[in-house]
């Protein structure tokens, strides 16, 4: 299983949620789909950890939530990036860039 669908690195879930929300407010399921979509179905977010992560991030003030109608007109909780969230995304993006470059370098060494 791990061969085809790599597990998410610890701490990257938050970053990807933030990224997924840059385009606009989404409900939880849509966040899931968007991450899947953006990663071309490579990354599979574990559904059980998505919601605790969303709620934790809201508590930290990175995202806000609001109840609203979904596409099929049902009540859903929509999450939206806050200004603090955007800043956080920038921080995480740049540190991710540094980290991934570093990891690639390590892995390319033979």
């Amino acid at each position: 299983m791990a061969a085809t669908k790599p597990e998410l690195l610890q701490g990257t879930l938050d970053m990807m949620i933030l990224k997924a929300l840059t385009a606009g407010p989404l409900h939880g399921y849509a966040v899931l789909r968007r991450i899947q979509q953006l990663s071309a179905d490579v990354l599979q977010v574990e559904e059980g950890s998505l919601y605790p992560a969303l709620h934790r991030m809201e508590r930290r003030g990175w995202i806000e939530s609001e109840w609203g109608p979904s596409k099929n007109n049902r009540r859903a909780r929509f999450y939206k990036l806050t200004r603090a969230g955007r800043r956080q995304l920038e921080v995480e993006t740049s540190s991710w860039a540094t980290l991934s470059t570093a990891i690639s370098k390590v892995m390319q060494t033979t």
């Binding site: 605790p52 809201e58 603090a84």
Partner: protein
């Protein structure tokens, strides 16, 4: 920001738990349903789609729980949970809870009540403008063993504007309000014009004094106290501008002071002091004043003291006889007004704190006992994954809950006791008459409750959560947690408690013994059945001595013939009454005059009394004769001395027939022949030794204007009061009689503050003793209950009941001995702080130390005797079968 938001969220969440729960569930359900729909759309059967969705989600309930925890009030939620659980536990152990709450209530109540007084007296600033800059200045004249500021001193100081913004002088005297239906005695504060502006006190009506009114001859203006204004003028605003007759002089009312304004005592009226700089500086007239000043911003008290000292040194050079060794004393006004109350208050506050500590120790003990009984519950919770921190938090929440309950009880008790505590505060302290619960008292009580909660809760929490899971959970196994840690801890608590109690007992014991000693003091007169009162003849109506003497002769004549009166007399100074009385230097014929080196040695109290004074007051005539009625009419040339004078100035000689005179041998006063020696009388208070005193039948200096009338009745003389006052009025209808009290009442009043402090300390000590008794009873009962089986074994092996009794009591005895040793050490270290409050014994009085150690041992051993007897009654068969 985010954390504040989180806390607010917590608060919101705390009260919307159901809604949060619902929302989380809705959100998660929405997710699952979307997934199902998608799967069905992709061709799965509804059944399959549902199963698949739930599987992929993985642990719906767990996720829901986690989310709820995050969304909910993470911190507050846990606290609320602990609190709910805690209250359940407290309700379950109702007896223990009640005992703990009451115990804490007593401790917190005692401490809070005293704190409210401390707050009023010591902490609250004086109700004046910028009170920190107000200072009290006086100077001590070692020659005369006294502190005196003369008008000239004050006027000199007041000039120094480089350190003082302004300075004001204060003095007091009494006036007769005349020209009204019932003449009345008024107490007056005499102040310089700067006084009210300096304090920042604005009259309620009218105005304060103008500077030009503070001059002799211009000073017939008066400010009324609020209370007098209400009483005599019915609170009528038109009183301002009216004329009143005081001592037969007309004064214009210029204003009314705010309600409750008093300083240095309570005064009915205020008039300008009107010092005359000319006569003061020539020292022809020496007014005695109190000096208060406001420091200039930026000037320190040290600078001001240096400045005033320089002036005093100059005066010393000018008048070496009087001012030799003069020392300037400068205190913050607040400190002067609080005076020696600080020591008693701090002692009482300390005592209250001790009671609280003892109460805490007892409650800690109770909780420890209960904690041990709950060991299994704790073990179960630990096994289910509660961390130690979580358990400690649970215990602490419980004890803080107890603390707050106890604190509330204490606050109620304090409110109840607070009014009687107002008696601690002297009237000289302004704005302090009402002791009330303001927010500082509330905050104090709250913090105290929380602190006690943590204090008595932490140790049991730590001790009882250290549970050995295995052995505790083993069904039917050993009684839980037999580890000795907590039990040793309980013993330590008891030892500490006994020690604190002993310190408190000894402190209270010293105070009680001081009080008893004081009451045993012979005042030098027989106070029973003597009524006393004051009469002050105004100079305007009684300008000469002859008229004053005639007035009193007539009054005495009339009063003596009243039924029920045995004798009556006048005196210029009454024992146990306020006022210093007259003191004078004197010379003995044929002996060298007073030399400066003698200082106050040759200063005697000088009293002018009528012939029956000694008989009326019950003062013994030791030798010679008393005055006769004839001696009062003219200058008889006779004098009586008291035993102190006889011993000090005529050691081994017969003073009768010797002659002395007031002042220096070459002075103008006539020589007086000593005709008798009378017993010493304590004049000021019971605590002050009687000093040398001489009695004259006729005033050599001054006059009879201010006299006290004493009447000895056959029975309780209070019934004579009205008759005596009527006789006085029938001699002069404008003459008020005031300050009417029996001599017994005066004696009582002079010891009343001490009695009250002693009583309070005694109450605290009794509370401590009871608590300590309960404490040791609790620990020994626990110990016995734990060891029933061991006791059973020992009895089965041949020990008899008295052996067991001895063992248990002996075990308690060890605690008692340790506690008492510690307590004695503490008492030796602490009681010297009380030295200033003691009378007639030292702070390390061995009798008190020994007696109270014995008392405490007795109570403690009695308290352990009951559990011991229970242990001795153990039936070995039953005990061994247990479990």
């Amino acid at each position: 920001m985010a954390s504040l938001k989180a806390l607010l969220n917590d608060f919101w969440a705390l009260f919307h738990r159901d809604r949060i729960d619902q929302e989380v569930a809705d959100e998660l359900r929405f997710h699952i349903e979307l997934r199902i729909q998608e799967s069905i759309a992709a061709g799965m059967s509804p059944e399959e789609a549902r199963r698949n969705a739930i599987e992929r989600f993985g642990g719906f309930e767990r996720v829901r729980e986690t989310c709820r925890e995050i969304r909910g009030a993470a911190l507050l939620e846990a606290f609320a949970q602990d609190a709910r659980y805690g209250s359940r536990m407290l309700l379950k152990g109702r007896v223990v809870t009640l005992a703990a709450v009451l115990t804490l209530g007593l401790g917190v109540g005692a401490t809070t009540a005293i704190f409210s007084v401390v707050n009023t007296v010591l902490l609250r600033p004086l109700p004046y403008r910028d009170p920190d800059r107000l200072v009290w200045i006086t100077q001590s004249l070692p020659r005369f063993k006294t502190r005196i500021v003369t008008g000239a001193d004050f006027l000199e100081w007041a000039k120094h504007h480089e350190v003082f913004e302004c300075a004001a002088a204060f003095s007091s005297r009494n006036f007769n309000l005349t020209g009204v239906d019932t003449p009345e005695r008024l107490s007056a504060g005499l102040v310089s014009a700067e006084f009210f502006p300096m304090l920042g006190v604005q009259p309620l009506l009218g105005r304060a004094f103008f500077p030009e009114e503070d001059r002799p001859g211009r000073n017939n203006v008066v400010l009324l106290s609020y209370e007098l204004w209400r009483r005599r003028f019915g609170g009528d605003k038109s009183a301002v501008g009216k004329a009143v007759t005081v001592d037969d002089e007309r004064y214009t009312v210029i204003g009314v002071l705010p309600q409750g304004f008093h300083i240095f005592g309570e005064y009915d009226v205020w008039v300008p002091l009107a010092l005359d700089p000319v006569t003061e500086f020539r020292r022809q007239r020496m007014s005695i004043v109190w000096a208060v000043a406001r420091l200039k911003p930026g000037a320190t008290m040290e600078q001001a003291r240096a400045q005033v000292s320089t002036i005093a040194k100059r005066t010393e050079q000018q008048y070496p006889q009087g001012y030799q060794g003069v020392q300037v004393i400068m205190l913050p006004l607040h400190e002067r007004l609080v005076g020696n109350l600080r020591l008693s208050l701090l002692a009482l506050f300390g005592a209250g704190g001790f009671v609280l500590l003892i109460a805490c120790a007892n409650v800690a003990n109770l909780l420890l006992g209960r904690g041990l009984a709950r060991a299994k519950e704790i073990a179960i919770r630990a096994a289910l994954g509660a961390g130690r921190l979580r358990l400690v938090r649970q215990f602490l929440t419980e004890s803080i809950l107890l603390g707050v309950l106890g604190g509330t009880t204490g606050l109620l008790l304090a409110t109840w006791g607070m009014h009687s505590l107002a008696a601690l505060i002297p009237s000289s302290l302004p704005g302090a008459q009402e002791v009330k619960i303001d927010h500082s008292v509330l905050v104090f009580a709250l913090l105290l409750s929380l602190a006690t909660g943590v204090f008595f809760g932490l140790a049991p929490a730590l001790a009882t959560t250290k549970v050995d899971l295995g052995s505790t959970l083993k069904d039917g196994g050993e009684p839980p947690v037999l580890r000795l840690g907590p039990f040793h801890f309980r013993k330590l608590l008891v030892i500490g408690e006994l020690a604190l109690t002993l310190v408190l007992l000894i402190g209270a014991g010293l105070m009680v013994r001081s009080f008893v000693r004081l009451r045993e003091v012979n005042p030098g007169f027989r106070p029973q059945n003597v009524l006393s009162m004051a009469i002050e003849l105004p100079h305007s109506r009684y300008p000469e001595l002859a008229r004053q003497a005639a007035f009193f002769r007539e009054v005495l004549h009339r009063v003596q013939t009243l039924p029920g009166v045995q004798s009556a007399a006048t005196t210029s100074q009454l024992p146990m009454a306020q006022g210093m009385g007259d003191q004078a230097l004197f010379s003995i014929e044929g002996e060298p005059p007073w030399r400066p080196e003698e200082g106050a040695q040759r200063l005697v109290s000088q009293l002018v009394v009528s012939s029956d004074y000694f008989r009326t007051m019950g003062i013994p005539l030791v030798k010679g004769n008393c005055f006769t009625d004839r001696d009062m009419q003219e200058n008889s040339g006779k004098v009586l001395i008291n035993e102190s004078v006889a011993q000090r100035f005529f050691p081994g000689k017969d003073p009768l027939g010797k002659r002395l005179k007031l002042g220096f041998p070459e002075g103008p006063e006539p020589w007086l022949r000593i005709v008798g020696v009378v017993g010493d009388v304590r004049l000021q208070t019971l605590e002050d030794e009687a000093g040398p005193a001489i009695y004259l039948s006729y005033p050599e200096v001054g006059d009879l204007g201010s006299a006290r009338l004493v009447v000895r009745g056959a029975v309780d003389p209070r019934g004579l009061a009205i008759a005596v006052a009527t006789e006085v009025r029938s001699v002069d209808k404008n003459q008020p009689v005031y300050d009417m009290k029996t001599m017994e009442e005066r004696l009582e009043a002079s010891v009343a503050p001490r009695r009250f402090k002693t009583l309070l300390l005694g109450i605290f000590a009794t509370m401590a003793l009871l608590l300590a008794g309960v404490g040791i009873y609790g620990v020994m009962s626990y110990s016995v209950a734990q060891r029933t089986r061991e006791i059973g074994v020992r009895m089965a092996l041949g020990a008899n009941s008295s052996d067991v009794l001895r063992t248990v009591v002996g075990e308690a005895g060890v605690l008692v001995v340790l506690g008492i040793a510690l307590g004695l050490a503490g008492a030796i270290g602490l009681t010297h702080l009380l030295a200033g409050l003691l009378y007639g014994l030292r702070a390390t009085d061995p009798t008190t130390f020994i007696a109270l150690s014995l008392l405490l041992s007795g109570v403690a051993l009695l308290a352990s005797y009951f559990p011991a007897r229970k242990a001795a009654a153990v039936d070995p068969v039953v005990a061994l079968r247990q479990n």
